[in-house]
């Protein structure tokens, strides 16, 4: 029997473990750079504009549409049990606990995470990162830190806006389309949402997702092979791995927060 599959498995495992170690080292460098001056406030603000402000339209529109769908599905389900007065609570809880953080993270992965990986990857190809190193400027400090900080700060704000737009979508369906009472919709929402359990849990999720997406996107870009195909592979792998990690982490955070 050929030993080739076992050798390949060994090489694959070694590569995986070594990659994990390198990624952890990279995360450590980013962490250290957060406490190093200059703080690069201007660059962080520029990145918040690129990652956060330019994502607003897609987040607001998606949030509204998701809210409309939740409103329709929720109403048709609840009305069977005569519980349509609970539409606000259902839409609000689903959005605050799960759909707001997760869908925002997935949308930001697709829009901003891929852009970050492609931008850093193309800087590798054109030797811009080496150019910075030769000027005694650490690329992690100058390029990566502002993107990571911007992503982590933007994610909770964007998720909050997504959720608000979703609740508005549910209200449009529940009040305007099916003629429900606006006060009932809002009071059921208000009485069912608990700050610590729901809002704080959601905030923690968005912060963790922000860190995850930022780390994966910058790491993939930073380690891109110096070719057009390398940048393309880095971009694709950012979207795939960040999306999968967001879904996996979502389960574990939910489980830990609830129990």
């Amino acid at each position: 029997m050929s030993a080739q599959p076992i050798i390949q498995l060994g090489h694959g495992t070694t590569r995986f473990v070594s990659g994990l170690g390198e990624a952890a080292g990279f995360a450590g460098q980013i962490l250290a750079s957060l406490f190093r001056r200059p703080l690069r406030v201007r660059r962080i603000l520029d990145e918040i504009y690129g990652i956060g402000v330019l994502s607003l339209s897609i987040i607001l529109l998606s949030g509204l549409v998701v809210g409309l769908v939740l409103g329709l599905q929720g109403y048709t389900t609840l009305v069977r049990f005569g519980a349509e007065q609970n539409l606000g609570a259902m839409v609000g809880l689903v959005l605050i606990r799960e759909m707001g953080p997760v869908l925002t993270a997935l949308l930001i992965t697709g829009r901003a995470g891929s852009a970050v990986a492609a931008e850093i990857g193309s800087m590798v190809v054109t030797e811009q990162l080496d150019g910075l190193r030769m000027m005694s400027i650490e690329p992690v400090d100058y390029v990566v830190k502002p993107k990571v900080v911007a992503m982590v700060l933007s994610m909770p704000l964007l998720a909050a806006l997504f959720t608000v737009m979703g609740i508005l979508g549910g209200w449009i369906v529940g009040v305007i389309f099916v003629g429900g009472d606006s006060g009932v919709y809002l009071s059921s929402l208000e009485s069912s949402v608990v700050f610590r359990e729901d809002v704080l849990g959601s905030l923690i999720k968005t912060l963790v997702f922000g860190i995850l997406v930022a780390l994966i996107a910058t790491w993939r870009g930073f380690t891109a092979r110096p070719s057009a195909a390398g940048v393309s592979a880095a971009t694709t792998s950012t979207v795939v791995s960040a999306s999968v990690f967001v879904l996996i982490f979502n389960y574990f955070i939910t489980a830990l927060w609830r129990f």
Partner: protein
């Protein structure tokens, strides 16, 4: 074909200068391919040193080692007689690089910044200069490389020759002791090659900076180089243009014959 039949003249003599960078016993392999077997070379202070070699001979690799962007598998690179590059830590490398400027093949200018901001960046990062003083420094360097009115443009808006000059300007703005240039003539038309070549000679004469240029452009090398380091078969052969002209080493003759073809 001998080197002499390829060249237009025999270069600029002046090899009698102290060693600035000493390379000894350099070995380096990329996967299964050996790039350097045993490279020994001395790069002369304040002179134009050109690294010649065919494709894959390791010109850029050696240049990147001189900039601490790459570590050799074995051997030593000693600068100023006391700084052993292969043993420097992260902070020491950062300090060493403040004495070195590097002009990359594609320019490596930050494409999100204007040309002015590209030049001002290292001064803003490392010097206590005010914005007004930085502007004067940048304008001075723009003048010295013959660039005018491009400060507000982005790197993508420049022609190939202008981008090379902007890259040279950025490498010079911190007044380095050592200037590393990676293929400064690649992708340029003959007139622009002459222009960039004259610029490099002018900068070397005015600023007295030690230049190490990786190039495969033989005519310009023989016109401007005060010392040539030829990389063949994983080793280095060092000499002046005149020496290479008279050299009958089969490896040297074979390289120049191949390049001429």
């Amino acid at each position: 074909m001998e080197p002499s039949t390829v060249q237009e003249d025999m270069g600029r003599e002046g090899a009698s200068a102290p060693t600035h960078i000493q390379v000894r016993g350099l070995r380096f392999a990329r996967g299964a391919r050996t790039v350097f077997r045993d490279v020994q070379a001395d790069f002369l202070r304040d002179r134009i040193n050109v690294i010649l070699g065919g494709s894959g001979a390791g010109k850029t690799t050696l240049l990147r080692m001189l900039g601490c962007l790459l570590r050799p598998d074995a051997g030593s690179i000693v600068v100023d007689g006391d700084t052993e590059l292969t043993r420097l830590g992260r902070a020491e490398i950062r300090n060493y690089r403040r004495r070195v400027g590097m002009m990359f093949q594609g320019g490596a200018l930050l494409d999100s910044l204007t040309i002015y901001d590209n030049l001002a960046l290292p001064l803003r990062e490392h010097s206590p200069l005010t914005e007004g003083e930085i502007q004067r420094e940048v304008d001075h360097v723009f003048d010295s490389v013959g660039l005018e009115g491009v400060g507000a443009l982005l790197p993508a808006e420049l022609s190939g020759g202008m981008r090379k000059r902007a890259a040279l300007a950025r490498a010079l703005v911190t007044a380095p002791d050592i200037l590393l240039c990676d293929e400064p003539f690649s992708g340029l038309d003959p007139a622009t090659v002459r222009l960039v070549e004259a610029l490099l000679v002018d900068v070397n004469e005015r600023l007295g900076v030690t230049m190490v240029i990786a190039s495969h452009h033989i005519p310009s090398t023989f016109r401007m180089a005060q010392q040539i380091v030829l990389l063949v078969d994983g080793v280095a052969i060092t000499g002046t243009a005149k020496w290479f002209h008279a050299c009958r080493d089969p490896k040297v003759e074979h390289f120049f014959a191949g390049e001429a073809k």
